[in-house]
Amino acid sequence: MKDHGPLHGIMAEFHSPDEVVEAAQRVHAAGYTKVDAYSPYPIEALTEALDLHKSHLPKIVLAGGIFGFLAGWGLEYWAAVIEYPMNIGGRPHFSWPAFIVPAYETTILFAAFGAVFGMLALNGLPQPYHPVFNVPGFALASRDRFFICIESRDPKFDPEGAKQFFASIGARAVSEVEH
């Protein structure tokens, strides 16, 4: 991994959702690309301001659903037709209408697995350590404070420049995020 120096980035604190959304727009407009924002609840305008690409999660869920359907249907076909064919009330071994229900359930089951584990994987969770937690007061990001961090892997990153920039757009506090 490339060494980004001693800093993860520069973090600015804001006190209201409007402040943080406006700041995020300014940060984006200033040309910073490796930026993340932290908020106690999801803010759609913040996602838009940071211009985050569309989530890939729906594709993962679709793949999970298709896999679940094929796995469920395949299991039923294999068990009832190939491995253990039984004459039950004279019905055909491949009694497909009866197979719909379990396959329907496995479709939902694996699509849900896709949604949960896909979300965790895309977010890189579980993650036992992250530098942003070193910032004093960051614990309030899960209460009523909002943060924006310009990361050191940003091509435009310059610690002093980022600090001044945050000060100019009305950050309540600015701090260095150490690794």
């Binding site: 932290y38 253990y84 899960s142």
Partner: protein, 460 residues
């Protein structure tokens, strides 16, 4: 807001989902404090101790069942299904309100669901756990039952019969339990992070930290998280409808008069929601009182739940009407006899008590002053729960006890071990709920923050 024109500010107050005077910080503190305070309230210990003692009945009942055999329960020819299936269907049905609140009302953008979805989901999980006891233990020897319940490669080379609704049930219920648990856990992640950040003692910080998995509320995280939550809701919606449909297939695909009816799936699903909302009310009313959560679970929430109960109660009543109509209009002797026997036979008291609880009682909810009276709602929630238990009792026992030949007629009563198992699962359910409100936030903090901001915008 449209309410301005009808009742002015008074009406607007009644419509509030969060009481005035709160902000993001106080919402967080108020809800997390219930979990994080050091001293456990005395009332909690008393309630927990009672529930824990009652739960021991389950241990005794199940232990004795395994020691002696399935004969300690009442079911016998011709009534081969008794308390075990009645209780199973009753518990599974109760679970449905949790998923309805968390998934369907989310998709329908019913914002009032926010303060009740978390504990309704917990209720779902615990109800499914209680339900699971019965089908597993009614096999008598669960350790040998596994090969005809679950498809796995065993040394006997046997596979389950996928044409049987009982296997559909296994798939539906296990999927339901798994997806409900995942949905609940995903909803908890941001709140676990809040608890991690706010816990003052090191061990709790570590424990909540482990389960929060490093959640840091990043915009990128929220972006994927919101997508996942919405998709899970969209998946849980068809799932919850399918679960009670499949449960009703256990009956409807049989040729027993009283079971073999096409109305069963929708009527079972409506009944499940009806019973489930009653249980949510039973739990919400003491919860908001003892933990002083009236600011978040307002009268509007209780009234909305009462309305859902009224609507689903009417669907259930329509189901009873259809059963009677089918029996008469079909002109089939067995069907006609079944309904006559249900109304006037030896179990007449169960049928008419059921009509009283599920058809007459919910109609009282048309009255606004009853719908907004907390003691009345608490009372009627018990009436509805009793009614829904009786419904399954009537469907199962009265349909089976008069077989096609009079020589095989019989009567059924639950034995003391049937009752012990039932009361024991009530103890298990309440015990789990007590543990839940002590260790996890009973109201979703992150969603309440969103709701708070939204309400502020709507007002502005």
């Amino acid at each position: 807001m449209a309410s301005e024109s009808i009742g002015g500010t008074h009406q607007a107050e009644a419509d509030r989902l969060i009481a005035p005077g709160h902000d993001l910080g106080t919402i967080t503190d108020r809800i997390s404090e219930i979990v994080l305070r050091r001293k456990t309230p005395k009332g909690w210990w008393v309630g927990f101790a009672i529930a824990f003692c009652v739960m021991q009945l389950l241990l005794i009942a199940m232990g004795y069942l395994l020691f002696v055999g399935i004969g300690v329960w009442g079911p016998n020819v011709p009534v081969g299904w008794g308390f075990d299936i009645i209780n199973f269907v009753w518990w599974i049905g109760i679970g449905h309100a949790g998923t309805l609140i968390s998934a369907i009302l989310l998709l329908l953008r019913q914002e009032w669901r926010t303060s009740i979805n978390r504990f309704a989901e917990a209720m779902t999980l615990f109800a499914v756990a209680c339900a699971a006891f019965y089908p597993i233990f009614h096999t008598g020897r669960p350790w040998v039952a596994i090969y005809w319940l679950l498809p796995y490669p065993n040394t006997m080379g046997l596979w389950p019969n996928f044409r049987s609704p009982l296997i559909w049930d296994v798939f539906a219920v296990t999927t339901y339990a798994t997806v409900s648990a995942l949905f609940w856990f995903v909803g908890l992640i941001p709140d676990l992070a809040t608890l991690r950040d706010r816990a003052t003692s090191k061990p709790w910080k570590v424990i909540y930290g482990i389960f929060a998995m490093g959640w840091r509320g990043s915009a990128k995280h929220w972006h994927n998280y919101e997508t996942a939550y919405l998709l899970l809701a969209a998946l849980a919606t068809p799932l919850v409808v399918s679960v009670h449909t499949v449960v009703s297939f256990d009956f409807a695909t049989g040729i027993v008069p009283g079971w073999h009816a096409t109305i069963f799936p929708p009527y079972f699903v409506a009944g499940a929601i009806y019973a489930g909302f009653a249980m949510v009310l039973t739990l919400a009313i003491p919860l908001r009182k003892f933990y002083k959560l009236e600011d978040f679970i307002t009268l509007k929430h209780l009234e909305n739940m009462a309305k859902v109960m009224l609507a689903t109660g009417l669907i259930v009543a329509y189901g009873y009407m259809c059963e009677a109509f089918f029996a008469w209009y079909s002109g089939v002797d067995y069907e006609t006899y079944m309904i006559k026997n249900r109304m006037l036979g030896p179990y007449w008291w169960a049928y008419w008590l059921l009509i009283l609880c599920n058809v007459v009682a919910p109609n009282l909810l048309w009255a606004k002053n009853l719908r907004t009276s907390v003691p009345f709602l608490f009372g009627i929630s018990f009436v509805v729960s009793t009614g829904m238990w009786l419904e399954r009792y009537v469907i199962i026992v009265t349909s089976l006890h008069r077989d096609f030949l009079p020589s095989s007629w019989g009567m059924y009563q639950g034995t003391v071990f049937d009752w012990a198992a039932f009361i024991g699962t009530l103890g298990l359910f309440v015990t789990l709920l007590f543990l839940f409100v002590r260790f996890l936030p009973a109201i979703s903090i992150a969603e309440m923050r969103t709701l708070y901001v939204k309400e502020g915008e709507d007002r502005a």
